[in-house]
Amino acid sequence: MSLLPWLILFLPLAGAVGITLFTQRDRDLSAKISIAAVWLSFFFSGLLCLFTSGTFKDAGLSAEWLTVGDLVVDFGFIIDPLSSLMLFIVTGVGGLIHIYSYGYMHEDRAVSRFFASLSLFTFAMLGVVLANNLLMMFIFWELVGVSSYLLIGFWYEKESAADAAKKAFITNRLGDFGFILGIILVWATLGGLNFSVLKETLAKNPGAMGGLATAAGLLLFCGAMGKSAQFPLHVWLPDAMEGPTPVSALIHAATMVAAGVYMLCRVFFLLDVPGSHAQLGYMVMAVGLAAPGAAMFHLATHAFFKALLFLGAGSVIHALHHEQDIWKMGGLKSKLPTTYRTFLIGTLALCGVPPLSGFYSKDGILAAASPSGSHPNPFLFILVVGVAALTAFYMARLFLVAFLGKAKDHCVDHAHESPGVMIWPLRILGTLSVIAGFMGLEQMLGRFFGDEHAHSLGYIAQLFAPFGHAPLAAFFGLFATVLGFSVAYALYANASTDPLPAKLGFLARAMRDRFYFDEIYTGLIRLTHEAISYVASWIDRWLVAGLVVRGTHGTTELFGRALRLVQTGNLQTYAFLLVLGVALLLFIILK
């Protein structure tokens, strides 16, 4: 039984290693190994869940990895509803993406490398999910970073892809800097790294963290910011689209971005100290609002429909032979019927149309912030409603322009539906997006985070629950969606070019340039590190190597030149000097 987590974790790694070492040449076999590995993991996750019903503790789940002094690091697993759910998301959604990639990447030269990286990524994500202590989480955290680096930079010969990979990694590194310091701080104050140990310590002595709680929280949060691409470390995410589309789906939706949220939920108890919420609240709203259950719920549904949308987009791109400009599409509804249908489901789910999953999960967050919720916060509430409206607007825009209307370019003419390996993952994800909202996930997570009000309702009751316990939130959510849709329809229903830039002027340009964040970052790095390294280099070249080293060398040589005058090369001069010396010595000794 306790063998299962080990198998779940190491199967993908075995796949990655096997592919790298043995099956580089055989592209098809590599892909199959990778897919088999992730689905086996999925299968074992199912078994684990079945046998343990979510929570499991066993000595066989942990092994000592490193012990020096009072630093004890285990290599162990934590099995609870939270990680079980994530196991399913990572292996399930990840597995679908694996299958999808088999079709999508079929033509590529380096399929083996792709699937090896994919398996490595899965391994790393599973590690983050299963880790039972902070340092192990950090280790896999970093591995997620590096495998995403490999995936984003998969087409390394493209300058933009190579740059994007580099950027993603370095930005993540900035977050990790905070993460590791946070870990050290927690270890130094609480004396442990295991989540269970930390929880016990805090339960016994809630004030153990003292004034350092806020600092530790912010530092750990820093790590989540990097991975989840939270402002201001979001800059890498748009560029990460340079990788193959399944990678975008994996990073964006299924897993990597989710890792940040998962981590915050995992260390939630550490942050659950008065005072530290306020800073975090505006950033990872739900966690900040002390509603990690809602956050995880949204994370799960988000994984389904975001993956669905990306894979749908990938299907379109695949059909159009790597044309990515939506203003050259249009009328894809008839050409790609399945993609169209599933994409529609994804869009509606993302926009929060009931009864699709997005509505419920978003409602959970809205409810927490609403005036009648657990943490009333009108400002956040309005913000979330506004964001929901914006989301509805841009998704409707995309959908109207790309799928409906007339074809805007002849490349659409030759489009045909993607093969089955790509379509079936879409169908499965579509189904999940529809039903995830009322399956009871929310209650399960709620119980895990200690909300005693959570209780199971019937499926039908579940459908209408949001309107029951927080009607204000539910109606505001719906209102936002409808508003977004209407505006988009008015603007784009029959447009053949984008009318918005003309209307918004400067703002549109700023948006196109992503509010100049890249420029600001480049400038910041120029100003700090480049400048310092320039100065350091100058000091090293001219002061240390130049003045001091060459100076010493020069002075020595100068003396040498002066002394060389004495060196006439004449034997008798030397002898004479010798004799003078001897005479002097004799005089001193004998005088």
Partner: protein, 170 residues
Amino acid sequence: MPHLPDIFFYVFAALTLLCGFLVVVNPFSRSPVTSAMFLVLTIISMAGLFVLLHAFFLAAVQILVYAGAVIVLFLFVIMLLDLKEEQRRKLKTFSLAAGVISVGAIAGLTVKAILDSGPGKGLPAPTVEGATAPLGKLLFTQFLLPFEIVSVLLLVAMVGVILLSKKDLK
């Protein structure tokens, strides 16, 4: 009435110093041959001093090795090289003066030191005889290892000389 060996000492000492002087600075000749010949004389008169010191074996060795072998070697080389050049060159007064002053200083200091300290005072009457037998006994017992090493040294010198004298020395 002076003791006879003392008279011999003064004679030999004077001879040694005089001939030595002529080896180094001969007012009449700059030829290396003359220097070599006076070196022979110096060595022979030194052998006399050795005899006065009862070092009979060494006196013989001195004459045999130095006068018989070393000086012959010198002469041989002089003849071989046909050196005449120095006769045409003058001794530089400056260097000569510098040499004389520094060497004079050393000589003065040492002689003064010897005379001041009086190393011979209070020593028992000399009885030791430097005859062949006791010396040989010593050489083959206590100093056997150095003796062997010196023989190896001679061999090395021989090989070295042969190597150095090869025509196509590079």
